[in-house]
C-alpha cells in the first residue's frame, strides 16, 4: 500500500516534483562545483605561485651567503666551498621529492671579454637539464621554469651548447653586443694559468635585476672556464609547500628541540623548513635555507585564498540550501487537501508523514544525482578556464552533498508536514486553514 501510494504520487504529480528535482539539481550542481574547486584551490594556487621562483636556497655549509643586494657590495664573505653537481639528483629522492617542482645549480665567476681587464660577471646554470634519477624516473629542470619572468626574445640556450652564451640586456646595450656576435672569454687563475673559450651570443635577456649586467652560460661552460668541473656554488629549489604554523616555526629555529611525536609530524608535512631539512640530509655539507620572502608570502596568500573560497562556498551553500528548503516547504504546503483527505480516510500521522517524505526524498535525490554530475562538469570548466588543468573530483564531496540533500529536504518538509497534520481534516477539505 505504502509503495503504491508513493509510486502513484510520483507519477501523478510529475510536473511539480520534476520542478523540485530541477531546483535541487541546480543547487547541488552549485554545491558540487564549489566544493570541488574549494578543495583543490590550494594545490592550484600553489602551482601558480611557483612563478615567483625558488623558495629554498642550498649553499655549501660554512660558506656565508654571497650577498649583494642590487649589486652594491660585491664579493663579501665568499669562501671557496662548493657543492658537488653529481649529488644534485638526490634532491629528487627525498621524502617530499614529489613536491620539488624545479631546481637549478648556479656557479658564478668573473671573466674578461675579448681581453678586457674588467671582470664581467658570468653565471652558469642548467637551462632545461634532463636528469635520470636513481629511482628510475627522469626529470627536466632548470632556469627556464625558474625564471619565467625573464624576457628572452631569441630563445634560451641548450645545456650541451658549449659555445653559446646569453648576454644581459644592460651589458649588451653598453658594449654594443648583438645576437650572433662572437666573443672570447678568458679566466685567469690564481695559479697563473688562463683558460679561454670562444663563444657566440645566442640571445639577449632582460631580467630586470642585476643579472642584466652580466653573461649567462650553460653550467658546464662556466665550470670548464673556471676549472671547477663538477662543482656548483649554490642550488635554487622551488617546492610546493604547506603554509607554516607554530610547529613549523619552532622547527625552523632548531628541529632538535621538538618532541619525538612533534618531530614526526613536522618531518612528514610539506613545510618549507621540513623540505629544507631533508635536502640538507640528502646532500653532503649542504645548508638549505627557506627564502622567507617567497615562502612566507606564499603561505599568506594560500591561506587567504583558501579561506576566501571556503567562506564563499559556505555562504552560497547556505543560501541555496535555504532557497531549496523553502521550495520544499512550498511544495508540501500545497498538499493540504491531500493530507486532509488521507486523514479523513483514517491514515495515521506517521503514515502520512512517511509517504510525503518518501516522495520528497525520491525527487530530491534524483535531482541531486543529476546535479552532482552537472557540478563535476562545472568544476572542470572552472579548472580549465582558470588554471588550464582539470579540478580533480574529490570523493569527500559525495557524502557532503548527500547529507546536504537530506538536511535540506527534511528541514524543508518536516515543519510543513507537522503544521498540516495539526489542521482538522474538515477545515482543510472545505478549503480553509492551510496556505
Amino acid at each position: 500500500m505504502f509503495l503504491r501510494m508513493v509510486i502513484g504520487a510520483v507519477t501523478r504529480q510529475k510536473r511539480k516534483l520534476l520542478m523540485m528535482a530541477g531546483a535541487m539539481a541546480l543547487g547541488i550542481s552549485l554545491a558540487t562545483a564549489m566544493l570541488n574547486v574549494m578543495l583543490d584551490v590550494g594545490d592550484k594556487i600553489n602551482q601558480e605561485l611557483k612563478t615567483y621562483g625558488a623558495n629554498i636556497m642550498v649553499t655549501p655549509r660554512g660558506a656565508s651567503f654571497l650577498g649583494d643586494l642590487y649589486g652594491i657590495e660585491e664579493g663579501a664573505g665568499v669562501s671557496n666551498r662548493y657543492l658537488a653537481e653529481d649529488e644534485l639528483p638526490k634532491i629528487k629522492t627525498i621524502f617530499w621529492a614529489f613536491n620539488i617542482v624545479d631546481f637549478t645549480p648556479w656557479l658564478d665567476a668573473r671573466v674578461s671579454v675579448n681581453g678586457s681587464e674588467a671582470g664581467v660577471p658570468i653565471l652558469g646554470a642548467w637551462f632545461r637539464k634532463h636528469l635520470d634519477l636513481p629511482t628510475g624516473e627522469s626529470v627536466d629542470t632548470g632556469i627556464i621554469n625558474l625564471r619565467s619572468w625573464w624576457d628572452v626574445r631569441q630563445g634560451w640556450l641548450k645545456d650541451d651548447d658549449m659555445s653559446g652564451i646569453m648576454v644581459g640586456g644592460a651589458y649588451a646595450a653598453t658594449h654594443g653586443i648583438h645576437q650572433g656576435d662572437a666573443l672570447t672569454l678568458s679566466v685567469r687563475h690564481t695559479s697563473g694559468g688562463e683558460r679561454t673559450a670562444r663563444v657566440v651570443v645566442r640571445s639577449i635577456f632582460y631580467s630586470g635585476d642585476r643579472e642584466d649586467d652580466g653573461l649567462l652560460a650553460p653550467l658546464a661552460l662556466v665550470q670548464r672556464l673556471t676549472g671547477l668541473e663538477g662543482k656548483v656554488r649554490r642550488v635554487e629549489v622551488s617546492a610546493l609547500t604547506t603554509p607554516e604554523n607554530e610547529l613549523a616555526r619552532r622547527a625552523a629555529q632548531n628541529p632538535r628541540t621538538l618532541s619525538r611525536q612533534a618531530w614526526e609530524v613536522w618531518y612528514c608535512t610539506a613545510y618549507v623548513s621540513a623540505i629544507a631539512f631533508q635536502i640538507e640530509e640528502a646532500l653532503t655539507d649542504a645548508r638549505a635555507k627557506p627564502v622567507l620572502q617567497v615562502a612566507e608570502a606564499e603561505g599568506a596568500i594560500l591561506q587567504k585564498t583558501q579561506l576566501l573560497m571556503l567562506l564563499l562556498t559556505c555562504m552560497s551553500l547556505a543560501c541555496s540550501a535555504l532557497a531549496i528548503s523553502n521550495l520544499v516547504t512550498a511544495n508540501v504546503m500545497e498538499r493540504g487537501t491531500e493530507i486532509g483527505l488521507l486523514k479523513a480516510l483514517g491514515a495515521t500521522d506517521s503514515q502520512i508523514s512517511l509517504v510525503i517524505l518518501a516522495e520528497m526524498l525520491i525527487a530530491t535525490f534524483l535531482g541531486g544525482a543529476f546535479g552532482y554530475a552537472a557540478g563535476l562538469g562545472l568544476a572542470s570548466v572552472i579548472g580549465h578556464s582558470v588554471f588550464g588543468s582539470a579540478v580533480s573530483a574529490k570523493g569527500l564531496v559525495v557524502p557532503i552533498v548527500a547529507l546536504l540533500i537530506l538536511l535540506v529536504t527534511l528541514g524543508g518538509s518536516i515543519p510543513a508536514i507537522r503544521m498540516l497534520l495539526r489542521l482538522r481534516p474538515t477545515d482543510v477539505l472545505h478549503g480553509r486553514g492551510a496556505s
Binding site: L26, G27, G67, S148, W149, P290, K304, L322, I382
Partner: protein, 357 residues
C-alpha cells in the same frame, strides 16, 4: 507569499554579497600580495650609487598615498669586525616592517641608535646572539679609524642576502658615517600591478630628479600573472553562483504562482480578462521584488562584510551601481518567473482549472 519573498531576499543577498566580494577582491588581494616585498626600487640616476632622501621623498609624494604600502630607504656601508669586512645596512625599521613583512626577528627590533640586528649567518659564524655586545671598526670617509661598541638587539632571518648583513637604524649609521640624508636604494611596496605599475614608473621617470625608478620584475611580473588567475577564478565562481541562484529563485517563484491556478480560473470564471489578471500578478511581483531587494541589501551587506572581515580583516564597500543592478535583477527574475506561469494559466479553460485537472 512568504515563501516567494524569502526566495527573492535570498537571490538579492547572494547577488549583492558575491558582487561586492568580487568587486573588492583585486584591491584586497593586491594588498595581500604585498607580503612578497617591494615591487619598485628607486636608485640614483647619477654616476655614483648614492641618492638623496629628499629627492626620494619628492618622488614618493607623486605616488597615490592610498596605494602606497611602504617605502624604506637602505644605505650600505662597510665596517670591520676582527678585521673582516661586513656589510652594514642602515634602515628605517618602521618602514621595513611594512615593505618586508617576511623578516623574522629573534629578539627585538632595535630601539636606540646603538642597537643593531645581525643576520643569522653572521650570528652562526660568530656565535653572537641577541643581547650581546659587538665592537665594530669603522673608517669614515673623513677622519681616522674609530671603534664603536654596539648592542645586538636581535637576529634577523630572511633566507636572502640580509642573513649576511649587519642592520642598524638609519640615524645611527648617519651618526657614525656622516653624510646624512642619503641612501643607496629606496624600496617601495605599492599595491598596483601590471599596467598601473608601469604608469607609476613613467610618472616617476618624467617628473622626478636625481632618481631612477626600477621595476622589480620578479615580483611585479609574477604578481600580475597570479592575481589575474585569482580574479578569473572569483569571476567565474561569482558568475556561476549568481546564475544558478537566479534560476533557483525563478523556479520557486514559478511554483508559488502555479499553486494559484485555481484562483486564476475562478477570476476568469467570474469575468476577469487576461490582461487584468496578468496586471494584478505583475503588481504583486513588483511589490515582492522591491521588498525582497530592500531586505536583500541589508543581508547582502552582511554577507560581504562577514567574508571580507574574516578573510582580509578589512571592511567592504558596497558600490552603488551594484545595489541598482540588484534591483534590476530582482525585478527581471521575479516578473519573468511569475509572467510565464500566469500567461500559461490564462490560456486554460477556467472550468478545467477549477475542476483541478
Amino acid at each position: 507569499m512568504l515563501v516567494a519573498l524569502l526566495a527573492v531576499v535570498i537571490g538579492a543577498t547572494v547577488f549583492l554579497g558575491m558582487g561586492a566580494v568580487y568587486y573588492d577582491i583585486p584591491r584586497q588581494m593586491g594588498r595581500e600580495f604585498r607580503s612578497y616585498g617591494a615591487n619598485l626600487v628607486l636608485v640614483s640616476s647619477g654616476g655614483n650609487s648614492v641618492l638623496s632622501l629628499d629627492d626620494a621623498k619628492r618622488a614618493i609624494a607623486l605616488l597615490p598615498a592610498d596605494k602606497l604600502v611602504g617605502a624604506s630607504p637602505f644605505r650600505f656601508e662597510t665596517m670591520y669586525y676582527n678585521r673582516q669586512g661586513v656589510t652594514v645596512v642602515g634602515a628605517d625599521f618602521t618602514a621595513v616592517k611594512k615593505t618586508s613583512p617576511y623578516w623574522q626577528i629573534q629578539g627585538e627590533w632595535p630601539q636606540k641608535d646603538d642597537e643593531i640586528l645581525i643576520g643569522t649567518d653572521i650570528a652562526e659564524h660568530t656565535r653572537l646572539y641577541a643581547g650581546s655586545f659587538v665592537t665594530l671598526d669603522i673608517v669614515p670617509p673623513k677622519g681616522r679609524k674609530i671603534s664603536k661598541e654596539l648592542r645586538i638587539s636581535g637576529v634577523v632571518r630572511t633566507g636572502g642576502a640580509e642573513d649576511g648583513f649587519v642592520i642598524m637604524p638609519m640615524s645611527g649609521l648617519e651618526g657614525i658615517m656622516g653624510v646624512p640624508g642619503t641612501a643607496n636604494v629606496v624600496e617601495i611596496s605599492i599595491a598596483a600591478s601590471g599596467e598601473e605599475l608601469s604608469r607609476f614608473i613613467e610618472v616617476l621617470q618624467a617628473e622626478s630628479q636625481g632618481i631612477t625608478p626600477r621595476l622589480v620584475k620578479r615580483i611585479a611580473a609574477s604578481e600580475t600573472t597570479v592575481l589575474s588567475r585569482l580574479q578569473v577564478l572569483v569571476y567565474l565562481v561569482t558568475g556561476i553562483v549568481l546564475f544558478l541562484t537566479m534560476i533557483c529563485v525563478g523556479t520557486t517563484m514559478m511554483t508559488v504562482v502555479m499553486e494559484r491556478r485555481g484562483e486564476i480560473g475562478l477570476k476568469k470564471a467570474i469575468g476577469a480578462g487576461n490582461k487584468v489578471i496578468i496586471a494584478e500578478f505583475m503588481g504583486e511581483s513588483t511589490i515582492l521584488a522591491f521588498a525582497g531587494w530592500l531586505l536583500g541589501i541589508i543581508s547582502g551587506y552582511f554577507f560581504a562584510q562577514i567574508v571580507s572581515m574574516s578573510v582580509f580583516s578589512r571592511g567592504v564597500e558596497m558600490p552603488f551601481v551594484l545595489v541598482l543592478l540588484a534591483l534590476v535583477a530582482s525585478f527581471v527574475v521575479t516578473l519573468l518567473a511569475s509572467l510565464i506561469p500566469v500567461s500559461m494559466s490564462t490560456d486554460v479553460e477556467p472550468a478545467l482549472v477549477l475542476r483541478g485537472e
